[in-house]
């Protein structure tokens, strides 16, 4: 389509203006507000005991969620690609389900399943507090991150086919050996990409986690809950800006990591 110069400039101005007002200026402003009182103030604000506890809790949740997602995600992808069983279509649909569910609805569903009075409410009697405890936050994060590893590994499995695996097993490799030596190396970049997505989402999840957390500062607050409670409960706007900037730094690092991984995957 040939456009005249004024028309092109007009379109460019509208597009860039929209992006500047919606994304660029707000983000620049929050960075400026976080660092305006000096880097020292920023560091101090993200190193309070409550903030450190929140960072630790967020990382702990990531540390629990990632291995579970790797094991079950790869297992699910293998079952979906290699398996032949009734109900496969259903399994496909279930894997994508978490993408369609609002985070708040995730929280409500988990409360109704695991909370006192819920279907599995009995576990509380056994001394395992799921809702308003760490297990609840882990389960909520698992729910929202479940599709990532599956959906990144699945296409790679399709692509590599089964010839090499068959060759390995013909040569006498056990199925474990085949998995470790052939399948896993082949899917490693897809798997890594899925893990990065999982980490990013796990660190940033808010709606599902706030529903199932008791939200006590220093105990059951993740980084995202800290941002919220500093702004709403403590009226500490600066603290909220600083914690948000920290989260933003983590998110941008993830984004950069993904760009690098993407290049690696395409040159593979």
């Amino acid at each position: 389509m040939t456009t005249t110069t004024p028309a092109r400039l007009g379109l460019r101005t509208v597009a860039l203006g929209y992006l500047v007002l919606l994304v660029a200026v707000p983000i620049a402003l929050i960075l400026w507000r976080s660092f305006e009182p000096g880097v020292g103030a920023f560091v101090e604000s993200v190193r309070t005991p409550a903030a450190l506890a929140a960072l630790n809790l967020s990382l702990l949740i990531v540390a629990i969620v990632v291995p579970l997602n790797v094991v079950f995600g790869v297992g699910t992808a293998l079952a979906l690609v290699r398996g032949r069983f009734p109900g496969k279509g259903l399994l496909q649909a279930v894997v994508d389900l978490p993408f369609a569910v609002s985070p708040i609805v995730v929280g409500v569903a988990l409360i109704l399943l695991w909370g006192s009075g819920g279907w599995f409410g009995g576990v509380e009697g056994l001394g395992l507090q799921v809702i308003f405890g760490l297990p609840g936050m882990v389960i909520a994060t698992l729910f929202v991150t479940l599709p990532f590893v599956v959906r990144e590994v699945e296409p790679v499995l399709h692509e590599i086919g089964t010839e090499q695996e068959q060759a390995a097993s013909t040569l006498g490799a056990s199925s474990w050996q085949t998995f470790w030596r052939i399948t896993l190396p082949a899917i490693r970049w897809g798997l890594t990409y899925g893990v990065v997505l999982t980490i990013a989402r796990a660190l940033g999840e808010f709606g599902a986690v706030i529903m199932v957390s008791s939200g006590f500062p220093g105990v059951s607050q993740t980084l995202t809950l800290l941002v919220h409670s500093r702004y709403i409960d403590d009226h500490n706007a600066y603290g909220a800006y600083a914690a948000a900037t920290l989260l933003m730094g983590l998110a941008v690092a993830t984004l950069l990591g993904m760009t690098l991984l993407d290049r690696k995957r395409s040159t593979r």
Binding site: M1, T2, A7, L11, L16, Y18, L19, L22, P26, I27, L29, I30, T76, L78, A79, V81, G83, K88, L91, Q92, A93, L97, P98, F99, A100, P103, I104, V105, V108, A109, I111, L112, L142, V144, L146, P147, F148, H158, E159, T162, S169, S174, S175, W176, T178, Y193, A200, R201, L203, G204, F206, G207, A208, T224, V227, Y231, I232, A240, L247, A251
Partner: protein
């Protein structure tokens, strides 16, 4: 039930980075049906390991995903169909659903226009710093939603340096939703525009069509499936959104309270049946949207196959 067909719904929240910027309507790398038939013998998991593996995976997905949603659905009908209906049509619940849907429709339309425009500028225009602008598009997916809320409040909230106060207003709601849904249309239209055949456009122009006519008659029809898919995904994301609206929305019943905030409030005042009923309504809207998108994408593919 969504991603495979539509490219990448990213996710419902926070760092919902789109798995990979596939064009909408793109088929997954290999459809199961096109797989070559292989011997049902050993591959991947061993002969013994496989049924066991499927069982474990099935159990895992059931406990993690299906059972919570089943508990939700059953609870919503605890007082029968009448109780469900009453909970969903309670004035404040209905108002929150209305606010949610109206805001999501507005945001979807804004995205359809602005997303297409931005994609066009990113593909067809050239200016210094274009790569940075391109990277900026993914940021809303990468940022946690609560950060999106804080970020927008710092410019449009009570401490606004430019004196714009959208805190606790409907425009504020739309702004927050526009922020988190920005990438959907841009990222679905962009690859189609890159692939588009420019010779047809040139032919149209050389035959005397104005650029507007060329856009409307030649470019737009090619882009329509991508625009619709991106807009639909943005809408589905917007109706369930919570984190980005929680600070800037204001949570004023009948005005700016969205359905997810209403649900959260009902849980807080210990009305689980009401919360579950509105949750089920929200889920139904999301599923219906995604089902329509899936049907639409499938229809497009079938047409392509027919004409090929």
């Amino acid at each position: 039930m969504t991603t495979t067909v539509t490219g990448g719904r990213g996710g419902t929240d926070v760092s919902a980075l789109p798995p990979s910027p596939q064009p909408p309507g793109a088929t997954p790398p290999a459809a199961p049906s096109s797989e070559p038939v292989r011997p049902a013998g050993r591959s991947g998991l061993g002969r013994v390991g496989r049924p066991l593996g499927v069982g474990v995976v099935g159990l895992w997905l059931s406990v993690m995903v299906l059972l919570p949603l089943a508990a939700l659905t059953v609870t919503s009908f605890e007082d029968g169909w009448g109780g469900f209906w009453e909970a969903v049509t309670a004035p404040v619940a209905l108002a929150s659903l209305r606010v949610t849907i109206v805001a999501a429709v507005v945001v979807a339309l804004v995205n359809a226009v602005m997303g297409t425009l931005i994609a066009w500028v990113l593909v067809r225009d050239d200016f210094p710093g274009k790569r940075i602008v391109n990277a900026l598009i993914d940021l809303p997916f990468a940022l946690p939603t609560i950060v999106a809320s804080i970020v927008l409040l710092s410019l449009y909230g009570p401490n606004s340096p430019v004196g714009i106060h959208l805190n606790a207003t409907q425009p504020g709601l739309v702004l927050a939703l526009a922020f988190v849904t920005l990438p959907f249309v841009v990222r679905s239209v962009q690859p189609v525009l890159i692939e588009a055949d420019r010779e047809v456009e040139e032919a149209s122009a050389s035959l005397g069509a104005s650029s507007w006519t060329t856009f409307r008659r030649v470019v737009l029809p090619t882009l329509t499936p991508a625009i619709i898919s991106g807009t639909g995904l943005a809408f589905a994301r917007a109706i369930g959104e919570y984190g980005s609206v929680v600070l800037i929305g204001g949570n004023i019943p009948r005005e700016t309270q969205v359905a997810s905030q209403y649900i959260q409030q009902q849980i807080e005042i210990d009305r689980p049946v009401n919360a579950a009923a509105v949750s089920v309504a929200l889920l139904a809207i999301a599923f219906a949207t995604l089902a329509v998108l899936r049907w639409y994408a499938g229809r497009g593919l079938r047409r392509e196959e027919d004409s090929a």
